[in-house]
């Protein structure tokens, strides 16, 4: 465990080298929130859609913009470059678990983003746009739990893509596809309750909602208290399914690993 935490610390301190770019990241987050809030302001008031107030949607936009910074997005790129350079062979002979190494290294990046991007962005957004408090302490606890689930699912999806890339050798294409699915079904901009009914039905059957809609809706208390347990069970089932798939693919991938670099 201690070894893995060292990877987390290492990844964190690597990121520290680019501290000066923090300002640009904060500006980037601010811009994204500003755009989303402006769009919500442009339409709310003209149409009464229920469950949508400008305060709700501002908070929803802020939470999701910050969540995006925390998710473990770099996994498939990392595996891809060690596949192409061949350095994966030396990673594999080390007496550590490669997936756990990836997870803990990714978490180092997330912790860095939390401290240097998410928290300052949250404060700026709070001062400039205003953020609603969590619906209740119970919902706050549910939100934090959902954040951890989001981290787990984002890691597993990224890892899944990198394992599929053992066969296709094109992780960019697979990442693009995953990105497209996330754009639609995570609900990180347009919440699921505003989807057309069929699309909402499909989105609720998929794991992508846990990377946008679920955490923010729990924070806001849009998901009723009695449904929280059901949502969490669904999340745990998804994590279990994804874990089984990646375990199985990992065994297959290792046995057909072709080193490209020399």
């Amino acid at each position: 465990m201690k070894t893995y935490l060292m990877f987390t610390a290492k990844a964190f301190s690597n990121q520290m080298a680019y501290r000066s770019e923090v300002w640009f990241r904060l500006l980037g987050n601010f811009v994204t929130i500003l755009i989303q809030v402006a769009i919500w302001k442009a339409v709310i008031g003209e149409v009464d859609v229920g469950q949508v107030s400008i305060e709700t949607m501002t908070t929803y936009s802020i939470l999701n913009t910050l969540l995006t910074a925390l998710l473990l997005n770099g996994i498939s790129g990392k595996v891809d470059s060690s596949l192409k350079s061949g350095s994966i062979s030396s990673e594999l002979v080390k007496p550590i678990s490669y997936p756990l190494y990836l997870l803990f290294e990714g978490l180092g990046g997330s912790v860095y983003q939390l401290v240097f991007t998410a928290v300052p962005s949250f404060l700026i957004a709070w001062l400039y746009f205003g953020i609603m408090p969590p619906a209740s302490p119970v919902f706050l606890a549910a939100y934090v739990t959902a954040l951890l689930m989001a981290l787990a699912i984002s890691f597993l999806l990224g890892y899944l893509v990198s394992l599929i890339a053992f066969w296709f050798m094109n992780h960019f294409a697979l990442s693009w596809m995953l990105g497209g699915l996330l754009t639609i079904f995570s609900g990180s901009f347009l919440p699921l309750w505003l989807f057309p009914p069929t699309w909402e039905g499909v989105a609720k059957l998929l794991p992508f909602q846990f990377l946008g809609y679920v955490p923010a809706s729990l924070y806001l208390g849009v998901i009723p208290a009695e449904s929280i347990l059901g949502v969490f069970i669904a999340g745990i089932i998804w994590i279990a399914i994804l874990l089984l798939i990646v375990q199985w693919l990992w065994k297959k991938a290792i046995s057909r690993l072709v080193i490209q670099g020399g």
Binding site: E21, V31, I35, A38, V47, V49, M177, T183, F189
Partner: protein, 264 residues
Amino acid sequence: MTLPLFFKLVRLLMKERMEYRADFLLSIFAQIIAYGGDYIVIWMFIQRFDTIAGWNWPEIAFLYSIGLFTYALGASFSFVQMRDLEEQVKNGTFDSLLIKPVNPYLFLISRGFNLGYIAHILISASVMIWAIIQLDLKWTLINVLYLILSVISGALINAGIMTLIGSVSFVWVRSGFLFNLFFRLKEFISFPLPVFGALIQILLTIVMPLAFVNYYPAAFLLSKDILGLPTWSMWFVPVVGPFCYWVAYRAWMGGVNKYQSAGG
């Protein structure tokens, strides 16, 4: 870098891509899904709210498609080239470009000419044509000419901004974070400009003229009222792009002259 030489290069790049045909097709398919996702989210949004700032779905689809189409055109000869400049400056491999007896800028953008944007072009052109049919626009010769010139100008604005960001590598070495910021800012023009406050509208018109990429041309073609501007002001649109690109090119060449290799 003459034109026939450029076309020869494109033919070779095409051949190179087709060596890995399945891979290339997979990439095209993936990017169509990715951008399809953007279209679907905006479509779902408008399903719920009917219009955004008075623009309905075909109008927004038209606006968004001009943005994507011009970005793809501009990026094909600037994004990857300028993004990788950082790495080349860091490793010192950029130096080898300077000893070639050609204009380093033209060589860099032509050598890296990126056919990977074909998917962007396919999806944005298809949606644009669909939107044009839905909108029942009057296609006079002037309008057609105006759309073509606007698209060229929009591509040059995108390419100009990316070239300018690339030239930052000569001074600071790192420039990747500016590309990230650019992609965030580009989101502004996925929606009609009046959605945003006066300050943003001014910034997107004068400081970073992204509004000229798609909003102004689309608004003129769709006969939307822009702050009561007279019709002749629509002809600013085709001029802004070449001007931006020229400024960026000068800055880039200026950067090269100041450049001192970081690699050893």
